[in-house]
Symmetry: C2
Subunit: 253 residues, 2 copies
């Protein structure tokens, strides 16, 4: 049964090329090295440019290659493990938080966020923008949506915008008792704004982590964080980082 | 500073098209509906086929569209929330487990898995293949790697392979006291084997979840699960499912 199906969907040409390229990357190239240009690579492996490009795209998805404007295609370093939700009992901005507050505005949240917050689609909420840097590189951008009801004592005397305002919102949020949180991870593509912050091109694949924070029996805040999918491995659990290194050939049988 | 950078990286043409297409999807099409063909769409929006294709690829990444062999491009249903690691104190195969054992072989694990298990690169391990179905659709394929040391009483009398063997390995594993687990999520591309199981084409983007299980002060088993990135949203935490629905325009300011 399996065989018949396999035969009816023949393995695409670029798939075999990908395997060959992976072996070449392992044996001939080192991290950071620039690959020959597409024309030379296509000639070396005896394939059409379109086939080569498909294989390169696959290897980029798997984190083996990086394509950068003005640099070309380079061999990627192993993905960095980035701890997500290590402490389910801490608010954003609590001591030890890996995020840096950047800005804060008051704006209409996306409809899906408004539904989670039960604020109604026409209610503006505090929107804290934060960024996360690991090993000196931008790895994630975050928007934290906080309705007025969660920060009732937030004073208008505090800075009206900017990082100071962001810190004021986070400080007020921490006065609530956090009852729990849950998270979801899905695939997305970088918006123009995220792309700029993450040093990627718009549309690049990203991992989107949505966290819902509960307090006083309701959703008190929602965070939508966008992680670079090329360089990040998101880690969950006590040990923080699962020390699994890049291995594209996870099948060995 | 931000502005200068934005101006130096102009928004690509397909990006604007994507926004326009998203609005059309929301207002004119319903879930499951087949989109007009590329030529007609390109003509309607006055863009080149290549630009259209880029926009469609983006929308596929974001889970708004599905492209299927022999069917064409259809409007995707909202992603399904799939709970990952809901109970950190249960072994794979414990009651309530969402996975179905399919097969079991003895094979060399990938190098990265061997390193996690500290088995040495030339030691073969029990390799349990499992699959997960949600709402009648295949959503994930899993390989669970179990070294001999974790199932010392596994009897050769049990079935030598197949689902019965898989169940025997899981049953033996459950005799160990589970001390904890951690998980990592990253982007990958479907191998030919995964693709067949997940009803996708090889190379399709997938979310790869690596789970390390600890017992007796060491890594007793490693699971590498591959989830469809187009239809799944992975959920973590007590509440199981973060009820956030698809909203590609998460920025509202």
């Amino acid at each position: 049964m399996g065989t018949t199906q396999l035969e009816s969907v023949p393995e695409p040409k670029y798939w075999h090329l990908k395997t060959v390229l992976t072996e070449a990357l392992d044996s001939e190239f080192s991290v950071g090295e620039i690959l020959p240009n597409e024309r030379d690579l296509a000639a070396r492996f005896g394939v059409a440019r379109a086939t080569l490009r498909q294989a390169l795209e696959q290897l980029e998805l798997e984190g083996r290659l990086q394509r950068r404007r003005g640099v070309g295609t380079t061999v990627a370093p192993p993905r960095v493990g980035v701890a997500v939700g290590t402490d389910p009992h801490a608010w954003p901005g609590a001591p030890g938080d890996a995020w840096r507050p950047v800005d804060c505005t008051v704006a209409l949240p996306p409809g899906a966020v408004a539904d989670l917050l039960e604020t109604g689609r026409d209610e503006r909420v505090h929107t804290v923008r934060r960024s996360r840097v690991t090993h000196g590189r931008p790895v994630a951008a975050d928007l934290l949506y906080v309705p007025d009801a969660s920060v009732p004592d937030l004073s208008a005397i505090d800075a009206a915008s900017g990082a100071a305002r962001a810190r004021a919102v986070l400080r007020e949020l921490q006065r609530l008792e956090l009852e729990g949180q849950d998270q979801a991870v899905e695939l997305g593509s970088a918006s123009a704004e995220d792309a700029k912050e993450l040093d990627r091109l718009p549309g690049a694949p990203v991992l989107v982590v949505t966290t819902r924070y509960y307090a006083e029996d309701r959703t008190a805040a929602v965070s939508v964080a966008t992680y670079r999918a090329d360089t990040c491995r998101l880690t969950f659990g006590d040990a923080g980082d699962v020390e699994i290194h890049h291995d594209p050939e996870r099948r060995a049988s």
